[in-house]
């Protein structure tokens, strides 16, 4: 696929991440450098414990990187002066466990961000929210509360909630892993449409077939590093890395 600008949307340089506890330090990301461009639909796959989710969470500072640089729209976000809250408004995130706000209606889940953080009036925010609810085909559930929804519906609302902030990039952290199998399809459908609409997406997932269908780039993470990166067809049909070949043998 093409890039709209020459400059990457996100540049990751020599990113390292260690977790510390009283007994020992554990390195989970080792010297990762990678670029993401406007319009990218990048999928990150790999074995459990490879650091995929941690990498994604470093991008919007839910985890603090230990060293390295993360440039978002040209600004190093690890600089202490950067307003992380403003950065996060531009980076939507979808979680494995949905994390909807259970005390707020579906509508309020979507509108509270735009109203409190972007200064939209209630009417403006609701107008924006209704468009997104239609997009995820849940406009009839605006008045519902999260616990009245199925898992698949919750995740579609969570996606709509992130989109309601009109982010520049969407991060998906295993969005279908907590779902019953019959609900995976409806969530993937929403993501497929997002990709078709040229939303920049970085997706951590175990859905290999979906990755092959939707991604323009696939990254293989194992042993705290990105070991291989390729377009979907070459990634699956001509894997170079030994670990990737073993991984694909097991997955498919």
């Amino acid at each position: 696929m093409t890039t709209d600008t020459n400059r990457p949307l996100i540049e990751v340089r020599h990113l390292c991440k260690e977790f510390h506890n009283s007994r020992h330090d554990m390195e989970v990301l080792h010297d990762i450098s990678v670029n993401f461009y406007q319009g990218d639909v990048a999928f990150i796959v790999g074995p459990s414990g490879a650091g995929k989710s941690t990498f994604l969470r470093c991008l919007n500072h839910l985890e603090e990187a230990t060293s390295g640089e993360i440039l978002f729209e040209g600004v190093n976000t690890l600089d202490a002066k950067v307003d992380i809250d403003a950065l996060r408004q531009k980076m939507g995130m979808v979680f494995q466990q949905f994390n909807l706000f259970p005390h707020l209606s579906v509508m309020s889940n979507l509108t509270i961000g735009p109203m409190k953080l972007q200064g939209l009036s209630k009417e403006e925010a609701e107008e924006r929210a209704i468009k997104l609810l239609k997009r995820v085909k849940l406009e009839d559930r605006a008045a519902s509360y999260p616990n009245q929804l199925s898992g698949g519906q919750k995740q579609r609302i969570a996606i709509a909630r992130s989109l309601c902030m009109e982010p520049d990039v969407m991060l998906f952290d295993e969005p279908t892993s907590a779902l019953d199998p019959e609900m995976v399809g409806e969530v993937l459908e929403v993501m497929r449409e997002l990709a078709q609409d040229k939303m920049t997406m970085i997706v951590v997932t175990h859905e290999m077939a979906f990755a092959r269908e939707v991604a323009n780039r696939i990254l293989f993470m194992a042993d705290k590093q990105i070991l291989e990166e390729n377009d979907p067809d070459n990634f699956f049909d001509h894997p170079q890395n030994e670990r990737l070949r073993a991984f694909l043998d097991k997955m498919i």
């Binding site: 919007n60 839910l62 809250d85 403003a86 950065l87 996060r88 408004q89 980076m91 939507g92 995130m93 979680f95 466990q97 994390n99 909807l100 706000f101 259970p102 005390h103 209606s105 509270i112 961000g113 409190k116 953080l117 509360y145 999260p146 616990n147 009245q148 909630r161 992130s162 902030m165």
Partner: protein
């Protein structure tokens, strides 16, 4: 002496029921003011403690809050009341009821702080992350997402704290406050008849405890019905 005469002697004669009535007024007033002080102060302490737990900020304030809660919960209420009256306000002339407001309010704050802290800590970490990921600051996330859920979860526990406090105020007599217990005791000392005034006082406490309890239960039911 029959029951009737006994009742007359202890409550009707010389308007002795007034000891119970004015004592009850003080007991309820102390309870309500102390609960309000306790909730406001306890809320502040809980906020300090959880902010430190979640973000590492406010270390000194957290140390103080932790120390405060440990000391208050680790010493008897009666001693705290005596210390506030005879030590802290030793050289200042403050009405006893104000002393009681302060002593019971400070005591309640420590317990309320732990209740609210437990409520905040029981909220899933994912809620904090969801708020953060949308661009809400820590304080905004607390105000809009965490506290509304946490407080709803702990309302019944706060109601129970009020019930405990109502009974705790019975030690107000140690600083010669005329509360319900002391009112009953004054009658006993005048009539040399213990059964009637003491049982009556106990029954009045029980009556109000049951009222508070049914209010808490009703609140719990309402919360369950609106449990989203």
């Amino acid at each position: 002496m029959g029951l009737k005469e006994n009742f007359y002697l202890n409550f009707i004669k010389d308007d002795r029921y007034m000891y119970l009535l004015s004592g009850l007024g003080n007991t309820l007033l102390i309870t309500i003011v102390a609960v309000v002080v306790g909730i406001l102060l306890g809320f502040l302490l809980a906020y300090i403690r959880t902010t430190y737990d979640k973000t590492g900020r406010w270390k000194a304030a957290n140390l103080f809050a932790h120390f405060y809660i440990t000391v208050i919960r680790g010493t008897p209420m009666v001693l705290q009341l005596l210390i506030v009256y005879f030590v802290i306000f030793a050289s200042v002339n403050v009405p006893k009821i104000i002393v009681a407001f302060i002593a019971f309010g400070l005591n309640s704050a420590a317990y309320v702080a732990e209740i609210i802290r437990a409520g905040i800590m029981s909220i899933d970490e994912g809620q904090f992350e969801a708020g953060a990921s949308l661009g809400f600051s820590y304080t905004q996330t607390m105000m809009y997402f965490i506290l509304p859920q946490a407080i709803k979860n702990v309302l019944p526990a706060l109601g129970n704290e009020m019930i405990v406090l109502l009974k705790e105020t019975s030690v107000s007599g140690y600083i010669a406050m005329n509360d319900l217990t002391r009112g009953a005791d004054i009658i006993r000392s005048q009539t040399y008849s213990a059964f009637m005034p003491l049982i009556m006082a106990a029954a009045i406490y029980l009556f109000f405890v049951l009222i508070f309890d049914s209010l808490v239960k009703k609140l719990e039911r309402n919360l369950q019905n609106s449990d989203h």
